[in-house]
């Protein structure tokens, strides 16, 4: 077993365990902390595939900016530990079979294509920052501009909502 495979399994196990902990924790801050661990583990996986820029941006944007806002809001609202209620009937009778079905579908899809499923190439050249920005501003310029436009609209919407009272 090569070193990168060992690191892959360590990071993947960390991500899965943190994701389970995210759901199982009862306090919102602990859930948010678990989510940060998931983000950092994912960044490690990107790094393993040679996508260094994406890995760094993953931590800066998700681990840094977005999760800090999550924690900030949770702290500001002083959210307490969640209270357990009795499970709703819908969750018991529809949720468990649906979850099993989705798990089954994914397992079947992976099992069927495992022979032909190509592993992602660890290609440093393809994902270097320069190549990425070249692609972003030439081949994918329309999706890129549309996304920025969408974000601008969302920012304006947030300002309008915040200013409504005045």
């Amino acid at each position: 077993m090569s070193a990168s495979l060992v690191i892959f399994f360590l990071l993947a196990a960390l991500a899965v365990m943190a994701a389970i902990s995210l759901i199982a924790q009862r306090h919102p801050i602990h859930s948010a902390l678990s989510l940060i661990v998931v983000m950092v583990a994912l960044a490690g996986l990107y790094l393993l595939m040679g996508a260094e820029f994406v890995a760094a941006v993953q931590i800066i944007v998700y681990g840094g900016a977005i999760m800090v806002l999550f924690i900030f809001v949770i702290m500001l609202l002083n959210a307490e530990a969640e209270e357990r209620t009795n499970f709703s009937k819908l969750a018991t009778y529809a949720g468990i079979p649906l979850a099993l079905a989705i798990a089954g579908f994914i397992a079947a899809a992976i099992a069927r294509s495992s022979g032909s499923l190509p592993a992602a190439e660890p290609s440093g050249a393809l994902t270097s920052t320069k190549t990425l920005s070249m692609l972003l501003f030439s081949d994918f310029v329309y999706p890129f501009e549309l996304t920025s436009f969408l974000i601008l609209v969302a920012i304006l919407g947030a300002i309008v909502l915040a200013q409504r009272e005045n």
Partner: protein
Amino acid sequence: MSDFLTKYAFLIVPILKVVILVFIVLTVDAYLTWLERKVIAHIQARWGPHRVGPHGLLQPLADGVKFIFKEDPLPANVDKVAYFLAPFIALMLALTSLAVIPFGPQKFTIFGYETHVGIADVNISLLVLFAITALGVYGVALAGWASNNKYSLLGGLRSSAQMISYELTLTLSVVGVLLLAGDFSLRGIVEHQSAGKGVLSWYVFPQIIGFLCFYIAAIAETNRVPFDLPEAESELVAGFHTEYASMKFAMFFIAEYTSMITVSCLATILFFGGWLSPFPDSWTFTHYLPSALLIPFGLWVVFDGIRYENLFGRIMLPGVGSALAVIGFALIVFPTLNAIIQGPFWFLAKVFTFLFVYIWMRGTLPRFRYDQLMSFGWKFLLPVSIANVVLTSVVILWRMH
């Protein structure tokens, strides 16, 4: 044995470098507190620490012993996980961020393994540094929240809001340098500034606006005066670390000083040419500058030491002074050694200057009010740094055509 060393050199050498760097950084942190207390004391016409050892030089050791042996009470109803995790997060991230800083130009080979002065040399080191800084806010925010104390919580909230606001400026102010250098690697950015003209090819001149924005934002990011609102003692007791004592408090303290060092290193690398000498390459006589500083300083310490008031000082100070002078003479006698230390000498000199400015500001400037801090960050600093990015891009485009 040597086979083993050669085979696992890729593992052993980085671990050795990490141990050495952490040791050096912790020592520098300790003496930075001494320097800070001394300098502020002299700004305020006091003496500062002078009881423990000659000129208070052993004060950091006494502080360390005190930190270890102080009682460490656990406040009631704290969130235990977050309470214990917070100082570790703060310290770990602060120390980790130093891993990507290059301290000198040389490559050297140990056990057949080629390596740099600095721990990791990655080609996106600037982004890695920003990623670690982005995570740094959790230490302070969690400490404030977990302490179950309203002053701590307010400190934590202030700190998160402040760090989110100033991180934008911090990142944007560096874009100008990135556009000029076309490289994310800190080593690459320094090498782009070495045009042989010395100080004139540093990025601080084309990027003076970027540098000012960067330095202001960096002070806010490290929670230092005049932006130390998260621990404003007149309003919040001690802010986010009110409920922390003993070693856990020391960890926050070390984290703060380490991030000061990191930010000073970053300012040196991005805007002041890193390890490059400020003089043109042809001025070889400036290579004797380290000796020219060390020998008179060492002799002055000897001269000061022999008149010191107690016996311990009369032995210790001349010892230290003559050691410094001997190092200075050794650099003249061995030119190879002198060539090796040129890079680290300039790097450390610049970093020290920035650290001194930090302390100087603490002794000079009053604290911002909280709303002033926010409106300054969002309404002045951020637009200016965006304008700097636009201006730099336009100039680069104009030069290309």
